[in-house]
Point group: C2
């Protein structure tokens, strides 16, 4: 009996979707992207590479560049432009992270002190501007007006999304649609653009570009939904990350929106005090998680994420089967499954 259970468990582990297959497939290109990033964040102004390497080297999964690399691979691209363009995507992402941390007054990023905590808001704003400009310089060096359009459009939408988020902050009555609009703009648009660029460098037909754009967009939405769940989850604590950042900042995400809509008047008083007024005491985070759990708000946010994940996977339906496609599909499942 014991042996049977063991085998099941092993099989269970082996079937758990992971990031590894995709990572292995693009590993070589990713090394080049990392080198490209390092080379291009140099400046005679010493603070720029110091601060930039703090946030860029700090790790992160390089998910967005990997989307460009894997999309290009899926499209049988054999050239080298995807490397520089992946670096562009990561620079745009990093610039928004730097500005986000200033806007959110975050002191931590991926468990480390945030750049603004170390060097101050001023440096973070300006180095963000530098990386953003550098991204455009790299795109210009690549020379495709079409890609410049995709990524400058994405950048404008991201900024709009950030402003929209600022305007709807601390409002637990925000609708699910308003919240989706925010995460579509501020997160999913860059996932979409990063994926689309892979098809564009490979000079693939419009229908494949659109498929990859849709893949990225829906993966991005699912990814952000799960991120928002993790912020209230014990899983997050296991990973050594802080729990409750969104709550403490009064950031309104889907778990909270659902808990509000499904809650009693008394519970809404609680949300008003803690989220609208940011008047929080020691036990409030625990109580928030308890309310979300009671109302299935966390589990149902994962269900919503599954919906977008399913769309992302179907979007790849037009591509022939193969190891790249399999790895990309697995990453979608991984992005959702990391909630558990």
């Amino acid at each position: 009996m014991g042996i049977v259970v063991d085998i099941k468990q092993e099989r269970g582990d082996a079937q758990k979707p992971s990031f590894d297959a995709l990572q292995n497939l693009v590993e070589e290109d990713l090394q080049k992207v990392n080198q490209h990033i390092l080379n291009n964040m140099q400046s005679q102004v010493a603070l720029i590479p110091q601060l930039a390497s703090h946030i860029i080297a700090a790790g992160g999964k390089r998910l967005r560049p990997m989307l460009t690399l894997s999309a290009a691979k899926l499209c049988d691209y054999t050239g080298g432009r995807h490397v520089g363009l992946s670096a562009c995507v990561e620079f745009i992402h990093t610039a928004t992270l730097l500005h986000d941390d200033v806007v959110d007054e975050s002191e931590l990023r991926r468990g480390q002190e945030s750049a603004n905590a170390v060097w101050g808001n001023q440096a973070s704003v300006l180095v963000g501007d530098f990386l953003f400009s550098r991204a455009f310089q790299l795109m210009v060096a690549d020379g495709s007006l079409k890609i410049l359009k995709i990524l400058s459009d994405a950048s404008a939408v991201i900024a709009e999304g950030e402003v929209l988020q600022l305007m709807t902050a601390n409002d637990p009555q925000a609708t699910e649609e308003a919240y989706l609009e925010v995460i579509r703009s501020k997160t999913a648009t860059l996932f979409a653009a990063a994926s689309q660029v892979g098809a564009v460098v490979a000079d693939r037909p419009q229908v494949e570009e659109e498929a990859l754009e849709s893949f990225g967009m829906n993966l991005g939405i699912a990814f952000q939904l799960i991120d928002d769940v993790l912020d209230y989850s014990a899983k997050q604590a296991q990973l050594g990350k802080t729990v409750g950042d969104d709550f403490r900042e009064g950031k309104v995400t889907l778990p909270l929106i659902l808990a509000w809509r499904r809650g009693t008047d008394e519970e809404r008083e609680f949300w008003r005090r803690t989220i609208e007024d940011l008047d929080q005491t020691g036990d409030d985070l625990e109580k928030a998680i308890q309310l979300m759990t009671e109302h299935n708000a966390l589990a149902d946010t994962v269900e919503r994420a599954r919906h977008y994940a399913a769309i992302a996977k179907d979007a790849l339906g037009i591509f022939p089967s193969g190891e790249v496609k399999s790895a990309m599909l697995e990453v979608v499942d991984f992005c959702v499954d990391r909630a558990y």
Copy 2:
């Protein structure tokens, strides 16, 4: 006798260089640029046009767009692309102003409340990002990779200059060269790019592009030097602007660098206290102006500006005489003469 004096005075006034001739020459185009700016700062996110119009409509001289317009006119350009590109230049400028005000914690801009004072730093950072992205969208719509290169290079240099300024802040021992490097990057580079773009749209030979780039660069340096003088000048007060902003922020500009280098040990103690330690009392600004005056630091900064102004004017030497060239030369003199 009285009559003779009157005539002299009139002639004196008439000869005082002004901005008017250039303004009149490009007035029609400038109206189009303003319309283009208004049309392109729209967004369904209401805060964006609100905040953007606060800073853009607040006036300012539109000096940078006028450089593009007049350079194009000097190059006999007859198309319409210079309008959109002038708007790009103004958007880049406005984005940097928004971020500057956050970095400097400024409460006033052109005598009005700054955007960050009204809407907060967060909104200013994010709307700056939006305008910057929008500038690139407009460039992409224009479709010239050459101009995209000029303006993305300029944007990266501007950001580097801002970071450099941050690193050398509050250091009265900064060298004149270090200071020049800062203003060349953060101010003059965009003047240079704006002017060069005028030649590029007109498809003029390299030598004319370079002449206009040099014109803009040197005009920009002279302009910033005079701005830095005005910050300590009674003239500024007459114009209804605040005096002593740089002093209060401990910003190290050429008047201060000269006063420090020409000062006694005791005076350097004063500068250390007020600029390095930002430990200032009510009379300190007056005392600072007095020291600068005693050491000719303000007058000699104007002299330095004249040097760059002379280079700017000579740069236009290769262009045939005409009303556009005359007006551009007059603007150089105006930029220096506004010190008095």
